[in-house]
Subunit: 214 residues, 4 copies
DNA sequence: AATGAATGAGGGTTCATTCAT
DNA sequence: CATGAATGAACCCTCATTCAT
């Protein structure tokens, strides 16, 4: 039978009130951004959280479930921040679309670690339906919101040659593609430039409403 | 215009032997597209190639080296196809840019398996400088080519508000982003629409030269 | 005849408190009968008792001690029931031996769960002297009782070719073997038949005294 | 990635021609007889076979499958020996039944180790249908054979009060019960006595045919 | 070149045990 | 007495790698 060492056990006990779950998820994010998913071990994660081996299984049952919870956490974090920013923009669709772009290239969102973690999960999503599901959910909320805004803008603009659907796809693709740039060539990636590219896309498609904005 | 990629030509020569090496690389690609890199084992690869266990180490020394060769192979395959298409377009920059877009959303290039493999490597690249290097090389060749074309188009167009550099980033981001769409939402992804989005981007930026094209 | 088993009386007193101890032992029995000893975890046991994790160690110190107490409990339960039945039979050795057989194939004793638990412990006893000791104690009490009865019957019968010792071994072996049947082939096992086999054994060995009984 | 130590690897290589599979099964039997199933680790088994850790999984996939193969091996070994002995007895049912009894209490069959392993598996069989299946198969073959012999003997004897079925159950139970004795009280267990008990059982039930045999 | 049995490091997971609350 | 989060040893299993054949 297995016996725990009582002396080693006593010391490393007192931690902050932050729940262990949260500590472990944050440690997981850190580890994934540093090593990737596969090189992230349960040992890494627990050590990174200042806790001991078995604890991850105690809280999350399996590594797979830990990863799922981590992805959910990231997704929710993104959406919460997204919604908050959108609320600040008020009811003006012009301000809204700009605030979304600003948000997506904000340092808090568009930094190497977060993007890395996001793409790491996305890379696995093809083989893990659960990941895919979570990614899609975020995607749909995000797309839906943008679609609504573009629909309004199209109405106001009177003549545009792209449909709201295509415009949405396009902005999404642009954003994702530019994020990827940051990953592949982070030295040369300039947040401001990426933002401008997106804003220019909006201007080009709604010249009347966004004239003089660039 | 750029001259032939030296990595490309070298590797294609080697592979032309149609040896076990090639069988193993193809098996690796298949396995990655089905399972991802982490679940791809030496055993998978050798079995998929109809060969025996130890053979991969015999030919590629380590798993890491096998993966590197595989990535090189994919990258070269892309570039070879890219160059071929470009040559067909002749010297007209308008035709060239369109042919590049057509190429990127051709079934041979933009299909779920190929994209999946590509993004899988890209997902790992952050933690594996060797992968990153190979990805960048492809990227630079591709970007460089597009940059040259956009530079000529800008000259002809007279007034455009985006620089050749930004236009290049933008088209690249669009392409990569749209490819990603195919991965995340392959059911709703429509190759033709993706192509149109890119073409529209070119039209919007060079209205004089591309008028009447859509 | 033998006097009351001292282990028995002591434990029954302890358990009469109807405390958590008893709940835990019962939960242990249930778990062993459902899963076996190896798959019985402290967690299983405490949950089954409607109590919390650490409680088992609190009450029994270690898993090993819990199992020992459980085995003792079962052994005592058997012996208590055995003694009770024997008392009802009065002083007639013929009635006594029959009542012992009846008891051993009574539903309360010879049912799949109880037998399973018993054999599970017996299976471990080879490697755990403590279990062996407890099993032997029960065995010796039981054998001793039967031996005494057979000795009297032999005296009365005048000629029998088997010694009291062998007769005892034989009845014991028969009983244990038939119990095992119930475990291995519980569908086809018939309590009544098993009982008859044992009774027939007695008849065959003491034809004068048991004539006309079957 | 995992790297094997090449120096340690080289030494412990050359073994006898006995296949690894067989070595591992024998090591498993030894370990189970010494420690029981649960305390038998993959490490124990491979070390006992003079091989290295991962080899058991290589040959048997999982511990469970190793155990199943081991049980099958034991069962087959028993049946092979049983059949051989029966053949030697020729066609005489009297000789046959005696040779079966002799076989069951032969040192090769009825020794502490073998019995221990057998009962260990039997103890687990309630929770593992696969074990149960294998145990039953052996049982049915064995029972079937004895049943046939008893049927013939009953015919010849003319009057017996037990059916062939009951006689079979009874001999089986006796054998199993006596084997158990050897486990629980191996010091006092006497092979010869156990044999006599069984022979006496036959004599008592077929007095005409077996008179003067004891 | 090719085979495939064998190696062994390392990972995920389980679970008896401890202990602050 | 009771709780349940935390500990850590030990297990099973995977798999890249080696090497005799």
């Amino acid at each position: 039978m297995k016996k725990a060492n009582p002396i080693l056990t006593k010391n490393l006990r007192n931690n902050s009130k932050k729940t262990s779950n949260l500590k472990l998820i944050n440690s997981t994010i850190r580890s994934i951004s540093e090593r990737g998913i596969n090189e992230t071990t349960m040992s890494n994660v627990s050590q990174g959280a200042g806790l001991s081996q078995g604890i991850v299984n105690f809280h999350f049952k399996t590594k797979e479930l830990l990863l799922i919870e981590t992805l959910k956490f990231i997704s929710n974090e993104y959406l919460a921040s997204f919604q908050k920013r959108l609320q600040k923009a008020g009811d003006d669709p012009q301000k809204q679309i700009i605030s979304i772009i600003d948000h997506d290239f904000d340092k808090k969102i568009c930094n190497r670690d977060k993007i890395a973690v996001w793409y790491t999960f996305l890379g696995e999503a093809k083989f893990k339906p659960v990941y895919m599901q979570i990614c899609k959910e975020r995607d749909e909320y995000y797309s839906g919101t943008i679609f609504s805004i573009f629909s309004i803008l199209i109405n106001k603009e009177k003549n545009t040659n792209l449909s709201a659907k295509k415009l949405t796809s396009c902005l999404l693709a642009l954003t994702m593609g530019l994020w990827l740039d940051q990953l592949v060539d982070s030295e040369n990636f300039i947040r401001q430039e990426a933002r401008e590219i997106c804003v220019d896309f909006v201007i080009k498609n709604f010249p009347k409403q966004f004239k003089g904005l660039s």
